[in-house]
Amino acid sequence: MFSRVIAHSARALKPAEALRICISPSTRLFHASQQCPVPVPRLPETGGKVRYGIIPEEFFQYLYPITGVTGPYVLGLGLMTMLLSKEYYIINSETMSAIGTLGFIVYGVKKYGHKVADFVDATNDKIIADFTEAKESRITHLQNHIDAEKEEQWRVDGKKFIFSAKKNNVAMILESNIRERQLMVFNEVKRRLDYHVELEKLKRRLEQEHLIKWVESNVVKTITPQQEKESISMCIMQLKSLAQRSRATV
C-alpha cells in the first residue's frame, strides 16, 4: 500500500529522477499492460444485498431454516432487551446523539441518495462517451482516408485503359467515315441505273401505245356500213329478249 503511495509521488517527478529513486525491486513505475497474465475477473455491477442498510441478506437466509422468517427480528429484539435490562448498554446522552445522528444520516441517504448516484453514473457515462466519441471520430477519419486512397488507386488503374480507349475511338470514326462514303457511292450508282431502267420502260410504253392506236385505226377502217347495221339490229334483238326475260322473272 505504501509502496504504491511512494510510487505515486515518484511518478509526479520527471522520469529520470524517478528512476534514480530505487524504492524496492518489486515496484514497477511504467506499466505497458496488465500486470497479471490471468484474465482479470469482472467486478460485480451492484453490491451485496442488504436489509435495513447494514445487515446482509445472507444472515436472514442463514437463520431462515432454523427459525423461519421472524427469527432474526426476534433475535435482534431479544438482544436489545438483554443489553438494556442487564445494563450492558446504558442509555445516556450518547444515545440521544446516536438517534439524532443516525436518523439524520438515514434521512439524508433516502432523500438525496438517488441524486448522488445519478450524478456519479452521469460522470461515468460522460467518461465512456468521451472515449467512445474519440474512438468513433478517429475511426471515421481513418475510414475517410481509406476511401480516398481506394479512389486514387482506382483512378491510377484507369490510366491503363486510356490508350486503348483512344484507339477504339479513332477506329470507330474511320469506320463510320468509310460506311458513309460507301453509302454515297451506292446511292449514285443506283440513281444512274434507275435512269436507264426508266428510259427502257418509257420506250416500251410508247411502242405499246403506238401499236394499239395503229391496230385500232386499221380495224375501224375495215368496218363496212352493212356490217354496222347488222350488228346494231342484233344488239336490239338481244336487248328485247333480255327485257322479256327480266319481266318474266319479276
Binding site: S93, E94, M96, G100, F104, A117, I127
Partner: protein, 228 residues
C-alpha cells in the same frame, strides 16, 4: 453516566498502549478512498475520486508547476483530516483530530518544510516577504519583527485552529445531547432541542470539511510564498 464533559476527549489507551495511531490510520485509510486507478469505478470510489479531483484543482491551480509535486501530500492530509472529523460525529467514536498532539504533528513539519525549501533555494526572495511592498521605511523594523512573529505563529495557529474548532463542535454536540436526555419530560422543548441538535450536526459536518480545506489551503499558500 458521563463524569465530565471532557471524558470523550481523553486520548484512549488500552493496557498502556496508545490507540490513537491505530484509530488515525484505520479510519482514514479504509474509508472512501479510491484504491484503484480504473477509468470507470463503482459509485463510491467514483464519488471520492471526483471529490479529490475537484479539491486538487481548487487548491493547486493558483500554485506554480514546481509546487504540484506537493499535491499528493496535501490531498492526503485533506482526506485524512476530513474523514477523521466526519467519523468523530458518529456516536461513541473518538476524534483523533481533536488532539493537539496530532494536529501539531501535522502542522509543524508541513510549515517547516515550506520554510526550509524557501530558505535554502531562494533565501533573499523568502526574506523579502517579511516586508510588504510600499511600506514607509520608518515602520520597517517593527514590521519585520511583526512579520517574523506571524511566520513563527503559523504552525501553532494551524494546529490550534483545527483542535479548537473540532473540540468546540463536539463539545457542543455533547452538551445538546445531555440536554436532550434530560428533557424527555416535556415534548415541545424536546423537539426544539432536537432541531437545535440537527442544525448543529449540519454545522459540524460543514465545519469538518471546511477545517480540513482551510488547513490544506493555508499550507498551500505558505508553499506558494516559498516556491522557486
Amino acid at each position: 453516566m458521563m463524569m465530565s464533559l471532557f471524558n470523550t476527549f481523553e486520548s484512549p489507551y488500552f493496557l498502556g498502549f496508545p490507540l490513537m495511531i491505530f484509530i488515525a490510520i484505520l479510519i482514514s485509510l479504509t474509508m472512501f478512498i479510491p484504491d484503484n486507478n480504473l477509468l470507470i469505478k463503482n459509485q463510491s470510489s467514483m464519488l471520492a475520486s471526483t471529490f479529490l479531483k475537484t479539491m486538487t484543482k481548487e487548491i493547486f491551480s493558483p500554485i506554480k508547476k514546481s509546487g504540484h509535486s506537493w499535491a499528493l501530500l496535501l490531498m492526503t492530509t485533506l482526506m485524512f483530516i476530513f474523514l477523521n472529523n466526519i467519523t468523530g460525529l458518529l456516536p461513541y467514536t473518538f476524534t483523533v483530530t481533536s488532539q493537539l498532539s496530532l494536529n501539531m504533528a501535522m502542522a509543524i513539519p508541513l510549515w517547516l518544510g515550506t520554510i526550509i525549501m524557501g530558505a535554502t533555494s531562494q533565501p533573499s526572495h523568502s526574506l523579502a516577504h517579511l516586508l510588504p511592498e510600499g511600506t514607509p521605511m520608518t515602520l520597517a523594523p517593527f514590521l519585520i519583527v511583526i512579520e517574523s512573529i506571524s511566520i513563527i505563529i503559523r504552525p501553532l495557529a494551524l494546529g490550534v485552529r483545527l483542535t479548537a474548532n473540532i473540540t468546540a463542535g463536539h463539545l457542543l454536540i455533547h452538551l445538546v445531547s445531555l440536554a436532550l436526555i434530560n428533557l424527555t419530560k416535556s415534548l415541545p422543548l424536546l423537539f426544539l432541542t432536537f432541531s437545535v441538535f440537527i442544525l448543529l450536526l449540519i454545522l459540524e459536518l460543514a465545519v469538518s470539511f471546511i477545517q480540513a480545506y482551510v488547513f490544506v489551503m493555508l499550507v498551500s499558500l505558505y508553499l506558494e510564498e516559498n516556491l522557486i
